[in-house]
Symmetry: C2
Subunit: 333 residues, 2 copies
């Protein structure tokens, strides 16, 4: 099949007139090599186009340098940005990202973790879906690090990075209340992910505390298209809401577009809208959406930094705050 011929340390050693160990040591930081040998080795390596075989190195060192990113619908703006931030961070720590797409079925997160084990990844970072406990246990028992981002479910021994969704939802409600709104709605998808549900519950709870009923609608995937359907449902009620908190920005964009083009409502004068994620489109002037920014770079930095820290049983649940970005989709501000 594939005839691949890479140059090995042996050949470099022969050309440099040293032993193979010398070559190995030259490429191992902190190993004992004289300047002269190092010079001759690097020269020979350069001439031959030698590159250390990371597969073999990983085999010996029991440390592959590979980190698996497990994610579905990775072309979603928020996910894509997170993946970008993670790869950048990983590379700056001289690790490398393996990207596993779990779009297909539901057990494919488990499949992905099996891949991670097969390639002896040092760690796996899960951005979507939730694996079975049996397989995460296997990972952890094998000594693999595990990071769950916005997954919310508990996994002893893994690092969990979650947003304070409830608190953000509460702040959203207060912002809308202060803007003079009196009829509140929450626009959700049917995904029922823990973090999405936390936003819904937080918003409803805040409503109750202030003596308001919150209308909740759920439909379809967490995407632009669902926004139109939710708009249809919300704006045809006898009591039209004047404040809508959307579970994320994509949905908010779809809802705003429907509100304007389909129901001739204007934002924010007829209805105030708040989103979540602060995707790039939220700042586009057609939307100018007030929303909560996920601290993407912060999340990525924290996840990656944790990989190199010695295991501490305690304190591996990080809860970060989402920052409210004021734009024009809410009155006042």
């Amino acid at each position: 099949m594939s005839r691949k011929i890479f140059v090995s340390a042996k050949e470099v050693a022969d050309r440099a007139g040293v032993s193979r160990s010398a070559v190995s040591r030259t490429f191992t930081p902190g190993a004992s090599v004289s300047d002269e040998t190092r010079r001759r080795v690097t020269e020979a390596a350069e001439a031959l186009g030698y590159h250390v075989n990371h597969l073999a190195r990983g085999l010996m060192r029991n440390e592959s340098g590979i980190v698996c990113l497990i994610v579905s619908e990775m072309d979603t703006p928020y996910r894509a940005r997170l993946v970008r931030a993670l790869t950048r961070q990983l590379q700056s720590m001289s690790k490398i990202a393996m990207l596993i797409n779990t779009d297909r079925s539901d057990d494919s997160v488990d499949q992905a973790l099996r891949q991670a084990i097969s390639y002896r990844a040092d760690a796996s970072i899960i951005l979507s879906g939730m694996p079975d406990k049996s397989i995460t246990d296997l990972c952890l028992k094998s000594g693999q690090r595990l990071v769950l981002i916005n997954r919310d479910e508990d996994r002893e021994g893994a690092l969990m990075i979650n947003l304070n969704d409830r608190e953000a939802a509460r702040r959203a409600f207060i912002a809308l209340l202060r803007a003079g709104c009196r009829s509140f709605a929450f626009a959700n998808s049917e995904a029922r992910t823990p973090s999405l549900m936390a936003r819904e519950e937080g918003f409803c709870a805040a409503g109750r505390e202030h003596g308001f009923e919150v209308t909740v609608e759920r439909f379809g995937p967490t995407a632009y298209k669902s926004g139109a359907v939710l708009a249809q449902r919300l704006f045809t009620r006898e009591k039209r809401p004047d404040a809508i908190f959307c579970v994320n920005d994509l949905l908010a964009c779809g809802l705003m577009d429907a509100a304007r083009h389909q129901f001739n409502l204007s934002v924010p004068s007829d209805v105030c809208v708040i989103g979540f994620d602060d995707i790039e489109q939220a700042s586009w002037s057609s939307y100018n959406l007030t929303t909560f920014a996920q601290p993407v770079d912060h999340i990525a930095a924290e996840a990656v930094a944790w990989l190199d820290r010695p295991t501490a049983e305690h304190e591996n649940l990080h809860r970060l705050e989402a920052e409210l970005i004021w734009r024009g989709s809410v009155r006042g501000g």
Copy 2:
């Protein structure tokens, strides 16, 4: 550092009461194993949580199953979609994607290819940037497959998948001409990538053929924000264009938003706009942008399929057509 303890074939063999070769063969499709042994091995493997070590397997087989995706600004809608399609395709051929981010400096695409070599990747797929010839030669000489997507520059031995940008640009011009436009402009970034320049040249050439001068403006990166600046430049000319072909959709969205909100122009009655890429936002009702769809799935499928085909020196330049998606940003249609 990291104490990783994975179960090895030896342990499975011991538990199953067979030789280590037997377990290896059990996990090698097409190898000669009796049903009875296979059963006992799989059972033991299941119980122990055994997974073949792909690092070691790659070492022996001289085939790692790894394919590197080299890409910068991967959270851009078009790039993200391509990456998603590629990972899906690769996984369906039981290969795995390594994602290398080349956001940083300019030589980093060379660095990325060195990583690909270090991990003995079977192939590299380059979505952005252009590596030095010396390093691509090293890859090819080592037997690595190389795919360049929309890179346009020639590399003997690599698969090159390009769009017919000039032809698309020509069709864009004709579409605008038929819509009754008489004052044409091309909105470009300063990136000057070959494929972007081909769109510009194709559009200008078509204009000349029909006896029209085409105004060209270039500014900044190929992004939403640049659209506003280009709108500023174009709409403050004494002779305001009534037709603008934008080098991509992001830029077109920015330009349309500026046209509407800043210059009170309406699309398509005051100005017709065509974009390129058919990103998701192009179909959002705020934009409803007529644009050219890149055959993303087709590109991904072709790239991945080529990896398994025996080397054919000829015919490794594929030129695909972009499909014109008619929406509402051009009159008539």
